[in-house]
Symmetry: C2
Subunit: 151 residues, 2 copies
């Protein structure tokens, strides 16, 4: 099982890098994880141009089943999220998660998504959101493996 | 404005302590933050007993308007959450947020809550959830102050 995580921007702060690193380490027991950091465009530029440029880079890195993290996507409990991933992995060897940039993602990226998932009605910063996503993917694997972590 | 954060258990891992410390530092510009860590009871004990013991300690530390973090609570966008906090602070100098333990909180704690807020349908570990809550409180203050952070 391969997880391909395509994110706009990098983790600038040590404290989120350390958090992400912890879950990446733990995920190593369950899957092959690949993290692709797309160059963040200057937010002072025209938003449409930012979305277009970032979108082109995102699309080049999509593989397998594509799940877009989107505040208006479907909401799941951790258990249902785990079941969804299990089903997807029955027919795909790779799941790509996409975390957009400051302006979200372009319509073109959106049209490449096979599913859209929302973690919260609230907006979180990209760096913390990346940690939240990694934790939920790790939690999903522990739920599927019947491990005690998630309880 | 005082924020009183009552949590069951402490942050064992350095990576979440560092994340929490960052938002606590940033919150210093906006409010007086007090963090109370309630002793986590042994989860191998009877759940009802765990909830009762932790509940008694939680209740002793409640002040002002009490918001319980609860997966089945109300869901808000970050903007609406900020507005809610602003309204509460018009009539209260202190808001207490409660994060329960492994089994949640007792009915007695629940009955002391003036409001219940849900961040996600998903379950997050207490340590990461504490960071998410601190970040959203910080975000709320920046929204109310009209700062650019949240955009």
């Amino acid at each position: 099982m391969n997880i391909n995580l395509v994110c706009v921007g990098n983790l600038k702060e040590k404290f989120t890098r350390d958090c992400a690193a912890e879950y990446i380490k733990r995920l190593g027991a369950f899957c092959k994880l690949n993290v692709v950091e797309i160059k963040e465009q200057n937010v002072l530029e025209n938003p449409a141009l930012v979305l277009q440029k970032e979108g082109e880079d995102i699309i080049k890195n999509l593989k397998g089943f594509v799940i877009l993290c989107d505040i208006s996507g479907e909401e799941y409990s951790s258990e249902i999220f785990a079941e969804k991933l299990e089903k997807i992995f029955m027919e795909n060897s790779t799941i790509t998660f996409v975390i957009g940039g400051s302006y979200g993602v372009s319509e073109s990226v959106r049209s490449h998504a096979n599913a859209r998932v929302s973690f919260s009605h609230m907006t979180f910063p990209h760096n913390l959101f990346r940690v939240m996503l990694l934790e939920q993917i790790y939690r999903a694997f522990t739920i599927l493996a019947g491990k005690a972590y998630h309880k």
